[in-house]
């Protein structure tokens, strides 16, 4: 038989990264700057807690919303780090990665025909998530001259005042842009004025190198219209453990939990034990990893400047976003530097509006490899000058 694919599934094109992946797989000398996940292993204490929980046979489902002690630890952590106050009983849900939480939010709040404004370039899963939920995407491009920050003018130009929802991701994947409190204030005002709901993906919050991370949910009148996403994948180097969470008003989290309890039941139990320990005792590991990313960030930025490629001063996450030299599109550059020099980078186009002409470079890679990769990029650029 042939499968009759749903329109929603057919609408979503295959990932723009896939073709590059196939080229990269053909050779064994590739240094990849295309990875959006830490190169560090999960801190030992967290791994140990996971192992111990397994040894003790703690392998059953947990409460749908996640273990109560973990939700409490999350509440304490976000209060302490980001000035966010959420009730562990009703306003927090633990999910299988921030990814699941984002999907739950789209399915909980988007009706067919609803418009979801997405500040772009941004993480590639939002757009398909909206489409799977039956909504329509309104891209809101951000630009290098604004340091890839979202502005009210940008929102107005895109017509976001008519949208139902706005998706934010700061610190940003792929640009490394952050939004300071001053940058967010007018956005919050716009959102209140036009009565939008906000989904704020703050999974890179700990990876902020310049100043403190500010959550848009801390602004007046914003808590009641915002869902904040976070998780353990990035700062705690736990991608494979699949653990994230969402914070929001009781009613909203309750709605998300309704879907979650039928589709996921509960987030992975072993991972919940690891996460609890990560919050309890791995703060210094996080600080050490952040310090390492920061050094690599400075190294990479400074090398791109030496190579003569314009590069935006990334201030968060573990990406930087240089411009491709004249004579190439981002796709061409990414493909040729992969074929000629064995360096894998991601063309900015795949991240949506405003990403073209740029490359996403991940520095979640050891310094020796970064040094070699940049030397190869330099050779490539010099060879095509």
């Amino acid at each position: 038989m042939t499968f009759e694919l749903s329109d929603r599934v057919q609408t979503v094109p295959p990932s723009g990264i896939r073709r590059f992946f196939e080229i990269a797989e053909e050779r064994d000398d590739v240094i990849s700057l295309g990875v959006g996940e830490p190169d560090f292993a999960t801190p030992w204490a967290a791994r140990d807690a996971a192992i111990t929980s397994l040894e003790q046979g703690k392998t059953s489902y947990t409460a749908n919303r996640g273990r109560r002690d973990l939700r409490e630890a999350i509440a304490d952590y976000v209060a302490d780090r980001f000035d966010l106050g959420y009730d562990p009983d009703e306003e927090i849900i633990v999910t299988a990665g921030a990814s699941e939480a984002v999907d739950l939010a789209f399915r909980s709040f988007v009706d067919p025909g609803d418009t979801v404004a997405i500040a772009q370039p941004s993480y590639i899963s939002y757009e398909p998530g909206v489409i799977f939920a039956g909504g329509e995407v309104l891209p809101v491009p951000t630009y290098e001259e604004d340091d890839f920050r979202l502005t009210v003018e940008g929102l107005e130009e895109a017509g976001a005042d008519e949208a139902d929802m706005l998706v934010l991701c700061y610190p940003n994947n792929p640009t490394g842009a952050i939004m300071s409190a001053e940058d967010l204030e007018p956005i919050a005002e716009f959102v209140r004025e036009h009565d939008l709901m906000v989904l704020s993906d703050e999974i890179y919050a700990e990876l902020t190198y310049d100043g403190e991370h500010t959550s848009i949910a801390t602004f007046e009148g914003m808590r009641e219209r915002t869902i904040v996403f976070n998780g353990f994948s990035k700062a705690h180097a736990m991608t494979g453990l699949r653990l994230g969470y969402a914070l929001g008003p009781a009613e909203a989290i309750g709605a998300m939990n309704k879907i979650h309890q039928y589709t996921m039941l509960s987030a992975p139990t072993t991972a919940q034990y690891a996460a609890l320990e990560a919050l309890d005792s791995c703060e210094s590991d996080v600080r050490e990893m952040v310090a390492q990313y920061d050094r690599r960030r400075q190294f990479v930025l400074s090398r791109f400047r030496e190579i003569g490629m314009d590069v935006f001063e990334a201030k968060g996450a573990f990406y930087c976003f240089p411009e491709v030299p004249e004579g190439f599109t981002a796709e061409e550059f990414a493909e040729e530097v992969l074929r000629e020099q064995g360096v894998a980078v991601v063309p900015g186009d795949v991240f949506g509006a405003g990403g073209d002409g740029h490359l996403r470079i991940s520095y979640a890679t050891g310094l020796e490899d970064l040094r070699e990769a940049l030397a190869r990029i330099e050779a490539f650029v010099d060879g095509h000058a």
């Binding site: 990849s32 959006g36 400075q298 190294f299």
Partner: protein
């Protein structure tokens, strides 16, 4: 503060060039140079060495951890004994420690015979030393913060979101 950062980077890899360190710390190259000079001049940085996995080498290298107990008297303190021992080139590290014994000494030589002879002929006879316990190193798994073994392959996908 920047000196501390430079120090951390040198400890991570003393062969980072000043240019590399400058790139990583956002300092100017001459500031990095000055910081390193300062660290060396004040004796914070005492030297630079390679971290060696001797098991990977054909030549035999024998190493031992030696526990030393000493008896002090009015004239002789720990410092006197340590000076005497530290002068021997066979002694690679010497530390006064708390616990069941007084000194913790690392000794290196070309053969077990050489190391044993050194301990029995040069160390044990020191009058203040009352006891030596020698542990030969059989395999080293980690030195100076660097793990040995074949290094884990990066199993991450070459592209991920």
């Amino acid at each position: 503060m920047s000196e501390r950062e430079v120090l951390e980077l040198l400890r991570e890899n003393a062969r980072y060039s000043t240019a590399d360190i400058a790139r990583m710390t956002d300092l100017e190259e001459d500031e990095v140079e000055a910081a390193i000079e300062e660290l060396e001049a004040t004796g914070v940085v005492r030297g630079y060495q390679a971290v060696v996995d001797w098991d990977k080498l054909e030549d035999e290298r024998v190493r031992a951890e030696v526990e030393l107990n000493v008896r002090l008297d009015r004239e002789t303190g720990y410092d006197d004994i340590s000076q005497r021992l530290a002068r021997f080139p066979q002694v690679k590290a010497l530390r006064l420690v708390s616990g069941d014994y007084d000194f913790d000494m690392e000794v290196e030589g070309d053969s077990i015979r050489e190391v044993s002879q050194f301990i029995s002929e040069k160390v044990a006879p020191v009058p203040e030393i009352t006891q030596t316990v020698t542990h030969y190193v059989m395999t080293s798994y980690k030195e100076n913060g660097i793990e040995f073994g074949d290094g884990e392959d990066d199993e991450r996908l070459s592209f991920s979101p």
